[in-house]
Amino acid sequence: MLELREVTVAAGGRDHDPILLSGVSASFPRGEVCALLGPSGSGKTTLVRAIAGIADTTSGSLHWEGTDLETEDLPPSQIGYVPQFTISQENLTAEENVILALRLRVAGLSDAARVTRAAELLELVGLTSAAPTLSKHLSGGQRRRLALAIELSSEPPLLLCDEVTSGLDARAETEILELLRHIAREGNRVVLVVTHGLRDLGVFDQVAVLVAGHLAYLGPPATAAHYFRAENPEAIFDRLPQRTGEEWHASWIKHRGHFEKDRARPDEPPAQDAKDGDEPESSVGVAGPVSQFFTLLAVRWKIFFRHKSGLALQAGLVLGFPLVVAIFALDGLPAVPSLDAGLSGDVVRQLIEARTFAEGASKAGSAVSGLVLLQVILLGLLGANNSAREIAGERAIYEKERFAGLSPGAYVASKAAFLAVLVVVQSAWMTWFVRAVAQFPGDGSQQFVFFLLVNAALTAVSLGISALSRTADHASLASIYLVGFQLPLSGAVLALPAGLDAALRPFIAAYWSWSGALQSLRETRYYDVLELVVPTTLSPQGLCAWVLVLHIILGIFIAWLGCLRATWDR
């Protein structure tokens, strides 16, 4: 039984902030479905969030089976939350989605057991026939059912449903409500449903009506219309504006006894209540972070390969970008002329020689520096493209899974591991291709390291941006900007003003990679002439690598921080 005692929620969590919920006291027995009713802004969602533990309670307390939740909270897997819009991996089938949920939320199951359990759950919600269908191909009602199946995977005794019927046709709505009632009965669960629809009130065991944060009614749906003096349940909302929340609440306090007395379990006897209750609660535990990591990584790869257009784009970029570089050096690099090192008094000859040298040297130096910078920028672009949408694009799923017990560390690590493979492939291909086609000189392994590092750095930073962004589009845009600024601020093309140079340089990955990669040419003649054309001094290779590694670490750290931050209420 879930019991609320004088629960008050203020908007900012402090006493003088606007009150969202005011002294709500209610109890919801197991095995019953309760509807939360009320006009917009009446505090329905706040009440659900307070129960879920997402919103702060300013005063009052919540009790589950007599235990104060402040002292001993329910584990994540014991609260199921079904959001308004179904959130699932669209490129997985219904069955895969359920299995994924089982993998993440339920520890200690064998693969076979998971398949069986998934089949049971799908059968429970009536999706057995749609099990092999990709989630993106499911209908609205099927999706709600899938969501219920996913939430039920950890056998939660408390199920919170936020407007699960909105946008469904009347029949589907009735079916879903019947299913919820069945779930409540079947698993001896407390099921709270936030709803606007007043048509099927009869399905619910209890109806709670909230007006401006005050509880105006809590009782059987049959007597609700009578209490509000409405002709039928649909007309209840028309009556509500006639009094303020306080007045309704005072009225409810006054008449409560009468209506509570009328309460009765319509279908099943209360005796069943305690019998089934504890069983699932004790058997279910969340999977460990390592297990979650591998699960997520595997799923990520599965989705990666299943998403054909994405795969094609990735292949196009990886193969195409080196071609862009090669175009500039199809005929190889210009040779560096040599100067006569002899001690000569012939000034005119020396001047002519110096001029010829300067021309040739600047051509060769510019070509080398430019090619390196081009590779760096393109790899940066690839990096941004890799990870900008990675977290922001599935933020809702992540948040739901996190609510259900997903470890942010495991999540970010799985992303990092997935991206690392991409980065290595991209960088290796780029390095090899340019060296092979353009006969690019210098130490190839050093070049690979610095190209890899810049790609990884921008991938990591973009992942961080992705974790901090509201939407995938925001993240994408910000990452592209980040790469776009690398080119002018790198100092490889134009020297920056001294102060700006020192202030910005640590953040410009392109500079460090360019600087480090150029030094792979140290033993070649090209390196000698770089000084003539390069407007910015090069930093030691070790330092370059170090800064880039720091970029990677920092990017992943930011991503992790971003994942720690809950974005529920957005």
Binding site: A341, G342, L343, S344, G345, V347
Partner: protein, 695 residues
């Protein structure tokens, strides 16, 4: 204080200057309308006077031209440069003097006013400008008052004595009578008794007679003292007045005069006493000169100034020791009345102060005393002089306004000579004086230029002066200038003629004469060179060649090579020598020109190196050395320094650093042969058996 009085007296310029023989000449040469010798009469001769017609000032029997003697010029310039006497002290002094004059002016001289004026005298003497004259006057007036009191006391004493004398006379008569009675009664008794009685009476009479005689003696003595005292003080004051007059302190003359009248209201203002006194004084006309010398010669003046006693003047002046001796003698008796009477009129000397004794002043005093018979005369003379001075100043200002600077300056000089201590002169503003000063300076400069025969300068000055002063008479200086020029030109043409006729001695004499008259005559050099040009060119050229060869001045030979080639045509030996010299010089000049061309291209190092090679061959040539030094300290400094430091280090065996410096020199001037040479040498030393410049 005494030294000060001496100097003031000495400041009177003419007393000394008239005795300079040169000055006498110059004033005579100026030739005024009236020769100074003709200035008879007391005005212009015996009191300070000035004759504008001849610029001659006359005083104390001497005359001098005020515009034409150096001392006066200097003194006048000093005055013109000084600021007007408008300082606080000056104004206060003026006010004090005016107040004194006002207090004791005729009609106002009540005993209270006289007392007030008397106290102001001391106050006035505190100011520097007063030179303590008022203090002297105050002392004299005080002495006069004291002596008047003494006279009163003596007169009273005589009155008492007169009574005593009458009593004594009575006693005497009585003594004589009593004895006669006694004798008559007993005369028939015996001659012995009569004799005894006569002896007794005589004895009695003797004592009363002695008393009477004593009293009478004392009364006579007192009478003598009264007369003497009155004489002393009167003569003292009179002498003072005369002294003020002599030193042109006309205001002090008037003040002293009025005090005199106030003290001796008996209407007797004759100066007979003074005249008697002066008559016995020794005079020494050289004394004044000695003092003037003392003032203008710093050494002597220092000696005189430091000595407080008047004797020092005598000793420093040397020639007037005798008169000082007299002063000391007369001073010694002090104020004893009896002795004073015996010394006669010399008594005044004591108060005249010892400096006044010097012959100059005594002579002046004598001259004055000869002419003036009463104090009223002196008084009117002083007033006349003051009026004259004030008019002079007014005239100066007027002339200044008219732009007639010459006359104005002359008027001012006259007025200054006559009354330099008068307020109107002292108060003249500096701006007014400066114009005169400028003109005076120009005038003085003109005189100086004429003295040294700098005719060009003199002519220029005359032009400037006639521009500055509309009334400046240019005819006199111009006449002198033109005359000198003409004479100089005459001598020059004579010199030319002498040169043409080969008379070298005459030519030189004429040239010298011309140069003496006008040393800076521009024609002099021209004529001289023309004369020399006409002498034997060839011989001269040969001589010059020999001389230049001897001196090693090949450059001069090279410069005039055409002349020397022509001159040596007949002398093969010389010709050969000349040919050699010219060949060398051509080479030197060639390298110099080359170096200069390189230098002009902005390549100082190259120029230096080029000239350095030439210098090795011709180390003596000054042009080469000069250019080399110029370059080494100028544009090629760092290059030369690098080479020289490299050389130093190489000499010390520090081949590494030496090579570095040579490389630096090579870097600065890559075509440098010297640097390249040293680098190659060192490279061969460092890497024996190496080949230079292998790629």
């Amino acid at each position: 204080m005494k030294a000060r009085t001496l100097l003031l007296l000495g400041l009177l310029p003419g007393t000394a200057l008239a005795q300079e023989p040169g000055m006498g000449d110059s004033s005579a040469a100026t030739g005024g309308a009236r020769p100074p010798q003709m200035n008879e009469g007391f005005i212009g001769r015996d009191v300070p006077a000035f004759d504008p017609g001849s610029d001659v000032a006359a005083f104390d029997g001497k005359v001098w031209n005020i515009n034409d003697n150096r001392l006066f010029r200097a003194r006048f310039e000093k005055y013109l440069n000084s600021s007007p006497a408008t300082s606080k002290a000056d104004v206060a002094y003026r006010e004090t003097i005016d107040r004194i004059l006002d207090l004791i002016s005729p009609g106002k001289a009540t005993p209270q006013n006289i007392e007030a004026a008397f106290s102001l005298l001391k106050q006035a003497s505190d100011y520097k400008d007063d030179a303590n004259l008022c203090r002297t006057m105050s002392d004299a007036v005080y002495a006069a008052r004291t002596s008047l009191k003494t006279v009163e006391r003596l007169k009273a004493e005589n009155a008492v004595l007169e009574k005593e004398r009458k009593a004594a006379e009575w006693n005497n008569q009585m003594a004589a009578r009593t004895s006669t009675l006694g004798i008559s009664t007993s005369a028939k008794d015996s001659p012995v008794l009569q004799e005894n009685q006569r002896i007794e009476r005589d004895a009695r009479l003797a004592s009363t007679r002695r008393v009477l005689s004593d009293i009478t003696q004392t009364i006579e003595n007192n009478k003598l003292r009264i007369a003497g005292t009155e004489l002393t003080t009167k003569a003292h004051l009179q002498a003072l007045i005369m002294q003020y007059f002599a030193t042109r302190r006309f205001e002090h003359v008037i003040i002293a005069n009025r005090f005199y009248r106030a003290l001796y209201a008996d209407g007797d203002n004759s100066i007979d006493v003074y005249k008697q006194m002066i008559g016995t004084m020794p005079t020494n006309r050289d004394a004044g000169q000695a003092k003037i010398n003392a003032e203008f010669d710093p050494k002597v003046s220092a000696a005189g100034g430091s000595a407080d006693s008047g004797t020092s003047v005598g000793t420093s002046a040397g020639s007037n020791g005798a008169s000082v001796g007299v002063g000391q003698q007369t001073q010694s008796p002090g104020g004893n009345a009896g002795a004073f009477a015996a010394s006669g009129v010399k008594m005044g000397i004591e108060n005249f102060s010892i400096e006044s004794l010097t012959g100059g002043a005594a002579a002046a005093a004598q001259s004055i005393s000869k002419l003036v018979s009463s104090l009223s005369q002196i008084d009117s003379l002083a007033n006349e002089a003051i009026r004259d001075i004030n008019e002079g100043v007014e005239a100066y200002k007027f002339l200044l306004e008219q732009g007639e600077l010459n006359s104005a300056t002359e008027r001012l000089a006259e007025t200054f000579a006559l009354g330099e201590y008068m307020p109107s002169v002292r108060l003249l503003s500096r701006e007014d004086k400066r114009r005169a000063l400028k003109f005076t300076q120009m005038k003085n400069e003109l005189l100086a230029a004429l003295e040294v025969n700098d005719l060009t300068r003199a002519e220029k000055l005359v032009g400037e002066m006639s521009e500055t002063a509309s009334d400046f008479n240019t005819s006199k200086p111009l006449a002198k200038i033109e005359t000198a020029k003409t004479i100089s030109a005459m001598h020059l043409s004579k010199a030319k003629n002498a040169a043409l006729s080969g008379d070298r001695a005459a030519m030189e004499a004429e040239l010298r004469a011309a140069a003496e008259i006008w040393p800076r005559n521009p024609a002099l050099a021209e004529v001289g060179s023309n004369i020399f040009a006409q002498t034997d060119v060839q011989q001269q050229a040969l001589n010059e060649l020999d001389r230049l060869v001897e001196q090693g001045d090949h450059r001069a030979i090279f410069r005039d090579n055409a002349k020397f080639i022509a001159a040596t045509a007949l002398y093969p030996e010389r010709q050969e020598k000349l040919g050699m010299i010219l060949a060398q010089m051509t080479e030197i000049e060639g390298s110099l020109q080359r170096a200069r061309e390189i230098q002009q291209r902005g390549d100082a190092a190259g120029a230096w190196e080029s000239i350095q090679l030439a210098a090795a061959k011709y180390p003596e040539d000054p042009e080469i050395n000069r250019l080399r030094a110029d370059l080494a300290s100028g544009g090629a400094a760092t290059f030369v320094q690098a080479l020289s430091r490299g050389g130093d280090l190489e000499a010390r065996g520090e081949y590494g650093a030496a090579l570095a410096w040579y490389l630096d020199a090579h870097r600065q001037y890559p075509p440098s042969q010297m640097a390249q040479e040293r680098i190659n040498a060192l490279a061969a030393r460092i890497l024996p058996g190496s080949s230079p410049d292998k790629p």
